[in-house]
Protein backbone atom coordinates (compact mmCIF):
# COMPACT_ATOMS: atom_id res chain seq x y z
CA UNK A 1 0.00 0.00 0.00
CA UNK A 2 2.98 2.25 0.47
CA UNK A 3 4.33 1.76 -3.02
CA UNK A 4 4.47 4.27 -5.82
CA UNK A 5 4.81 2.60 -9.21
CA UNK A 6 6.51 4.61 -11.93
CA UNK A 7 6.74 3.98 -15.65
CA UNK A 8 8.49 3.83 -18.01
CA UNK A 9 11.94 3.00 -16.67
CA UNK A 10 13.55 4.87 -19.52
CA UNK A 11 12.34 7.20 -22.24
CA UNK A 12 13.88 8.62 -25.39
CA UNK A 13 12.20 11.67 -26.92
CA UNK A 14 13.08 13.89 -29.84
CA UNK A 15 13.86 17.52 -29.16
CA UNK A 16 10.62 19.46 -29.22
CA UNK A 17 8.51 16.42 -28.38
CA UNK A 18 6.38 15.67 -25.33
CA UNK A 19 7.79 13.50 -22.55
CA UNK A 20 5.23 11.68 -20.42
CA UNK A 21 6.01 9.81 -17.20
CA UNK A 22 3.32 8.03 -15.24
CA UNK A 23 2.92 7.08 -11.60
CA UNK A 24 0.31 5.15 -9.65
CA UNK A 25 -0.27 4.81 -5.94
CA UNK A 26 -2.54 2.82 -3.66
CA UNK A 27 -2.59 4.63 -0.33
CA UNK A 28 -5.46 7.12 -0.47
CA UNK A 29 -4.00 8.94 2.53
CA UNK A 30 -1.27 10.42 0.33
CA UNK A 31 -1.96 14.10 -0.18
CA UNK A 32 1.23 15.55 -1.62
CA UNK A 33 2.73 14.41 -4.90
CA UNK A 34 6.08 15.94 -5.87
CA UNK A 35 8.28 15.28 -8.85
CA UNK A 36 12.03 15.44 -8.44
CA UNK A 37 14.62 15.91 -11.18
CA UNK A 38 18.10 14.47 -10.83
CA UNK A 39 21.09 15.16 -13.04
CA UNK A 40 24.09 12.79 -13.05
CA UNK A 41 26.29 13.26 -10.01
CA UNK A 42 23.76 15.49 -8.28
CA UNK A 43 21.08 15.02 -5.68
CA UNK A 44 17.40 15.14 -6.63
CA UNK A 45 15.78 18.58 -6.70
CA UNK A 46 12.10 19.42 -6.50
CA UNK A 47 10.68 20.18 -9.93
CA UNK A 48 6.95 20.58 -9.35
CA UNK A 49 4.38 19.27 -6.89
CA UNK A 50 0.61 18.89 -6.68
CA UNK A 51 -2.01 18.28 -4.02
CA UNK A 52 -5.13 16.22 -4.77
CA UNK A 53 -7.53 19.16 -4.62
CA UNK A 54 -6.54 20.13 -8.19
CA UNK A 55 -6.41 18.01 -11.33
CA UNK A 56 -3.58 19.84 -13.05
CA UNK A 57 -0.67 22.09 -12.24
CA UNK A 58 1.53 23.79 -14.77
CA UNK A 59 4.89 25.48 -14.34
CA UNK A 60 6.47 26.55 -17.58
CA UNK A 61 6.93 23.50 -19.79
CA UNK A 62 6.20 21.09 -16.93
CA UNK A 63 2.67 19.94 -16.11
CA UNK A 64 1.39 17.47 -13.55
CA UNK A 65 -1.93 15.80 -14.33
CA UNK A 66 -3.65 14.19 -11.36
CA UNK A 67 -6.48 11.64 -11.45
CA UNK A 68 -7.67 11.06 -7.91
CA UNK A 69 -10.24 8.38 -8.74
CA UNK A 70 -7.69 6.34 -10.67
CA UNK A 71 -4.97 7.05 -8.12
CA UNK A 72 -2.61 8.10 -10.89
CA UNK A 73 -0.57 11.15 -11.70
CA UNK A 74 1.74 12.01 -14.52
CA UNK A 75 4.42 14.48 -15.54
CA UNK A 76 4.29 16.03 -18.99
CA UNK A 77 7.29 17.90 -20.35
CA UNK A 78 6.30 19.96 -23.34
CA UNK A 79 8.82 21.00 -26.01
CA UNK A 80 11.40 18.68 -24.47
CA UNK A 81 14.99 19.92 -24.65
CA UNK A 82 18.34 18.11 -24.40
CA UNK A 83 18.86 19.94 -21.09
CA UNK A 84 15.85 18.06 -19.72
CA UNK A 85 17.80 14.80 -19.99
CA UNK A 86 17.84 13.55 -16.40
CA UNK A 87 16.25 11.01 -14.09
CA UNK A 88 12.78 11.91 -12.86
CA UNK A 89 11.24 10.57 -9.67
CA UNK A 90 7.63 10.79 -8.68
CA UNK A 91 6.86 10.63 -4.98
CA UNK A 92 4.01 10.70 -2.51
CA UNK A 93 3.68 11.69 1.11
CA UNK A 94 1.16 12.47 3.80
CA UNK A 95 0.80 15.88 5.41
CA UNK A 96 1.99 15.63 8.97
CA UNK A 97 3.95 12.48 8.27
CA UNK A 98 7.68 12.08 7.92
CA UNK A 99 8.04 9.67 5.07
CA UNK A 100 8.10 10.34 1.36
CA UNK A 101 7.73 7.29 -0.87
CA UNK A 102 9.58 7.53 -4.16
CA UNK A 103 8.97 5.79 -7.45
CA UNK A 104 11.81 3.84 -9.04
CA UNK A 105 12.70 6.66 -11.43
CA UNK A 106 12.60 7.30 -15.17
CA UNK A 107 15.74 8.06 -17.15
CA UNK A 108 14.82 10.57 -19.84
CA UNK A 109 17.04 11.22 -22.83
CA UNK A 110 16.11 14.00 -25.22
CA UNK A 111 17.75 13.64 -28.62
CA UNK A 112 18.96 16.82 -30.27
Amino acid sequence: QQQVKQSPQSLIVQKGGISIINCAYENTAFDYFPWYQQFPGKGPALLIAIRPDVSEKKEGRFTISFNKSAKQFSLHIMDSQPGDSATYFCAASISGGFKTIFGAGTRLFVKA
Binding site: Y32, K42, L46, A49, F89, G97, F98, K99, A104
Partner: protein, 113 residues
Protein backbone atom coordinates in the same frame (compact mmCIF):
# COMPACT_ATOMS: atom_id res chain seq x y z
CA UNK B 1 28.34 28.00 1.66
CA UNK B 2 24.68 27.66 2.49
CA UNK B 3 23.05 24.35 1.78
CA UNK B 4 23.47 20.70 2.54
CA UNK B 5 26.80 19.00 2.11
CA UNK B 6 27.81 15.38 2.30
CA UNK B 7 31.24 13.90 2.81
CA UNK B 8 32.99 12.02 1.49
CA UNK B 9 31.68 12.06 -2.09
CA UNK B 10 33.22 8.67 -2.79
CA UNK B 11 34.25 5.90 -0.43
CA UNK B 12 35.56 2.39 -0.89
CA UNK B 13 35.61 0.17 2.18
CA UNK B 14 36.06 -3.47 2.99
CA UNK B 15 33.41 -5.86 4.20
CA UNK B 16 33.10 -5.77 7.96
CA UNK B 17 34.55 -2.31 8.46
CA UNK B 18 32.69 0.50 10.13
CA UNK B 19 32.17 3.58 7.99
CA UNK B 20 30.50 6.91 8.72
CA UNK B 21 28.95 9.19 6.15
CA UNK B 22 28.65 12.82 7.12
CA UNK B 23 25.84 15.28 6.43
CA UNK B 24 25.80 18.96 7.33
CA UNK B 25 23.11 21.56 6.62
CA UNK B 26 23.25 25.30 7.16
CA UNK B 27 19.53 26.13 7.05
CA UNK B 28 18.70 24.98 10.59
CA UNK B 29 16.03 22.72 9.14
CA UNK B 30 14.42 20.58 11.81
CA UNK B 31 13.97 17.49 9.65
CA UNK B 32 16.75 15.45 8.15
CA UNK B 33 16.73 12.19 6.22
CA UNK B 34 19.03 9.53 4.88
CA UNK B 35 18.13 7.71 1.67
CA UNK B 36 19.87 5.11 -0.38
CA UNK B 37 19.50 5.05 -4.14
CA UNK B 38 19.73 1.78 -6.03
CA UNK B 39 18.85 1.08 -9.64
CA UNK B 40 15.28 -0.10 -9.91
CA UNK B 41 14.40 0.93 -6.36
CA UNK B 42 14.46 4.70 -6.50
CA UNK B 43 15.16 6.33 -3.17
CA UNK B 44 14.49 4.36 -0.02
CA UNK B 45 14.42 5.97 3.39
CA UNK B 46 16.93 4.60 5.88
CA UNK B 47 16.46 6.87 8.89
CA UNK B 48 15.00 10.26 9.62
CA UNK B 49 15.22 12.81 12.38
CA UNK B 50 12.68 15.38 13.52
CA UNK B 51 15.10 17.34 15.71
CA UNK B 52 18.32 16.98 17.64
CA UNK B 53 18.27 13.73 19.61
CA UNK B 54 15.08 12.53 17.89
CA UNK B 55 15.56 9.85 15.25
CA UNK B 56 13.47 7.01 13.85
CA UNK B 57 13.69 4.17 11.38
CA UNK B 58 12.63 4.36 7.77
CA UNK B 59 12.05 1.55 5.26
CA UNK B 60 15.51 -0.03 5.27
CA UNK B 61 17.27 0.66 8.61
CA UNK B 62 19.00 -2.68 9.21
CA UNK B 63 22.79 -2.37 9.46
CA UNK B 64 22.73 1.40 9.90
CA UNK B 65 22.96 3.69 12.90
CA UNK B 66 22.34 7.43 13.08
CA UNK B 67 22.80 10.15 15.63
CA UNK B 68 21.89 13.78 15.79
CA UNK B 69 23.50 15.64 18.64
CA UNK B 70 23.33 18.97 16.77
CA UNK B 71 20.58 20.26 14.50
CA UNK B 72 22.96 20.80 11.59
CA UNK B 73 24.65 17.38 11.54
CA UNK B 74 23.18 13.96 10.83
CA UNK B 75 25.87 11.28 10.39
CA UNK B 76 25.03 7.79 9.12
CA UNK B 77 27.16 4.87 10.31
CA UNK B 78 27.39 1.44 8.78
CA UNK B 79 28.43 -0.65 11.75
CA UNK B 80 29.83 -3.58 9.78
CA UNK B 81 29.66 -2.90 6.07
CA UNK B 82 28.31 -5.56 3.71
CA UNK B 83 28.39 -5.72 -0.09
CA UNK B 84 24.63 -5.21 -0.17
CA UNK B 85 25.23 -1.76 1.28
CA UNK B 86 27.06 -0.68 -1.86
CA UNK B 87 24.89 2.21 -3.00
CA UNK B 88 24.62 5.95 -3.43
CA UNK B 89 23.55 7.60 -0.20
CA UNK B 90 21.69 10.89 -0.07
CA UNK B 91 21.10 13.11 2.89
CA UNK B 92 18.18 15.53 2.77
CA UNK B 93 16.61 18.17 4.96
CA UNK B 94 13.30 19.96 5.11
CA UNK B 95 11.94 22.85 7.06
CA UNK B 96 8.55 21.30 7.81
CA UNK B 97 7.39 17.75 8.38
CA UNK B 98 5.39 15.80 5.85
CA UNK B 99 4.22 17.23 2.57
CA UNK B 100 6.92 19.72 1.78
CA UNK B 101 10.05 20.14 -0.30
CA UNK B 102 13.13 18.20 0.72
CA UNK B 103 16.58 19.52 -0.18
CA UNK B 104 19.14 16.88 -1.07
CA UNK B 105 22.89 16.78 -0.81
CA UNK B 106 25.04 15.65 -3.73
CA UNK B 107 25.34 12.11 -2.47
CA UNK B 108 28.05 9.72 -1.33
CA UNK B 109 28.89 6.80 -3.58
CA UNK B 110 29.87 3.93 -1.29
CA UNK B 111 31.44 0.74 -2.56
CA UNK B 112 31.90 -2.20 -0.21
CA UNK B 113 34.44 -4.73 -1.47
Amino acid sequence: DAGITQSPRYKITETGRQVTLMCHQTWSHSYMFWYRQDLGHGLRLIYYSAAADITDKGEVPDGYVVSRSKTENFPLTLESATRSQTSVYFCASSEYRGATEAFFGQGTRLTVV
